[in-house]
């Protein structure tokens, strides 16, 4: 029950984009079409989950016993960068179909602060292994939800008659703000 509640909280109530602002760059950058947005979202779920597992193990098995916690930032970003490279190479060899679909998004994910943010949050909140797994899957699914919804709205916004100065990222941010109001409605939701 506790895990279900953690999942819902990280998925919707504390939505990673609309409430925590992690991963806003790809959210604004790769949301012009619903298919590419969905591709990015799935790639992010994949990488965040893997990265959380590995950083969790490295933190508790290597950094803590050696009292090297202050190296957390450097170690985590290296793990994420290496992981993204490996995933890319692995997919290219063994699952060309999936690679075709996710390929272009993978390099972009290294600089997606959601990945590092979730890995660090797992440590800050002192989650157990299972909890951090649930938190990672929930949070990254929240990213998929947010980016697909946003891409759908942007499709319509493109046809709207806007003042010249608001075109482009200005109206995207305002749209995201209005969607964030909707997500604010979930705040305080308890299971």
């Amino acid at each position: 029950m506790e895990l279900v509640s953690l999942f819902i909280t990280s998925f919707i109530v504390n939505n990673i984009i609309f409430m925590q602002f992690l991963g806003t760059c790809p959210f604004l950058g790769v949301s012009k079409k619903i298919d590419t947005a969905a591709g990015m979202g799935i790639a992010v779920i994949f990488v965040i989950t893997l990265a959380s597992i590995i950083t969790y193990i490295v933190h508790h098995a290597i950094l803590v016993p050696l009292e090297l916690e202050y190296l957390q930032t450097i170690v985590f970003i290296l793990i994420i960068a290496a992981l993204v490279q490996f995933v890319e190479m692995f997919l290219k060899k063994s699952a060309p179909g999936l690679y075709q679909a996710l390929g272009i998004f993978l390099p972009l994910i290294t600089t997606n602060c959601a990945v590092l943010g979730v890995a660090i949050n797992n440590i800050i909140y002192e989650y157990s292994f299972v909890k951090s797994l649930v938190y990672s899957v929930g949070t990254s699914s929240g990213f998929l939800l947010a980016i697909v919804l946003f891409a759908g709205v942007r499709d319509k916004v493109d046809y709207a008659d806007l003042p010249e100065s608001l075109k482009g990222s200005a109206i995207s941010l305002i749209t995201a703000g209005l969607m964030s109001v909707a997500f604010l409605g979930f705040s305080g939701l308890q299971l």
């Binding site: 202050y70 930032t73 450097i74 290296l78 602060c113």
Partner: protein
């Protein structure tokens, strides 16, 4: 390019937030009060200038193929230094900024300057570029965070400037306010630059 021009570029014509729109995560998240905005801005100036200096000094020794991982390690080292310094000397601010201090590592503006400027230019020019971009970032943070603090709390740096009777606009310091106010701010900057060019 002359030195003043490099500096001015970062603050105005290529302002990282208002024009290039990179490194938005921290911008949106921590600008709930002016002091947080200034703290984050100063931290970014320090990391950006430091990494620009080191990268431009080492640019002849870093092989082209591994330059991105090398940049990331240098940036991460500076971020860790800032993280530890803020933990030691400005603890309240450290707690307010939370996870966004280590996340300076993945702030795209720093990697972008390393790749686009520091790797190709001398130490002095790179220092000025880092300072210029950093100050541009700080200016945008100050603008956004003071608007949010005034509207959402009626105060600036904790001092009350709007009368007690003012009903704080909660929305401004809640997440939606961040998106909407930054959107309007960018729209306003677009308007100004369009008018200037017309």
């Amino acid at each position: 390019m002359n030195k003043l021009q490099i500096f001015k570029n970062g603050v105005t014509t290529e302002n990282p937030i208002l024009v290039q729109q990179v490194g938005m995560c921290a911008t949106l998240a921590i600008t709930t009060s002016l002091i947080n905005g200034i703290g984050m801005g100063v931290a970014v100036i320090a990391v950006l200038t430091g990494s620009n200096i080191v990268i431009s000094a080492l640019r002849k020794y870093i092989p082209d193929e591994v330059r991105i991982p090398a940049f990331v390690i240098i940036i991460a080292a500076f971020t860790t230094i800032i993280d530890l310094l803020m933990h030691a000397y400005t603890f309240a601010l450290y707690q307010a900024l939370g996870v966004f201090i280590p996340l300076i590592v993945v702030n795209c503006i720093i990697l972008a300057r390393a790749e686009a400027f520091a790797f190709k230019n001398g130490i002095l020019d790179s220092t000025i570029d880092g300072l210029g971009m950093g100050v541009g970032y700080l200016v945008a943070m100050i603008l956004l965070s003071s608007i949010r603090e005034i509207l959402g709390n009626g105060t600036i740096l904790g001092l009350r400037i709007l009368p007690e009777a003012y009903e704080p606009m909660m929305m401004a310091i809640q997440p939606p306010g961040a998106f909407i106010i930054l959107g309007l701010l960018i729209g306003f900057v677009n308007y100004l630059s369009r008018r200037k060019n017309a």
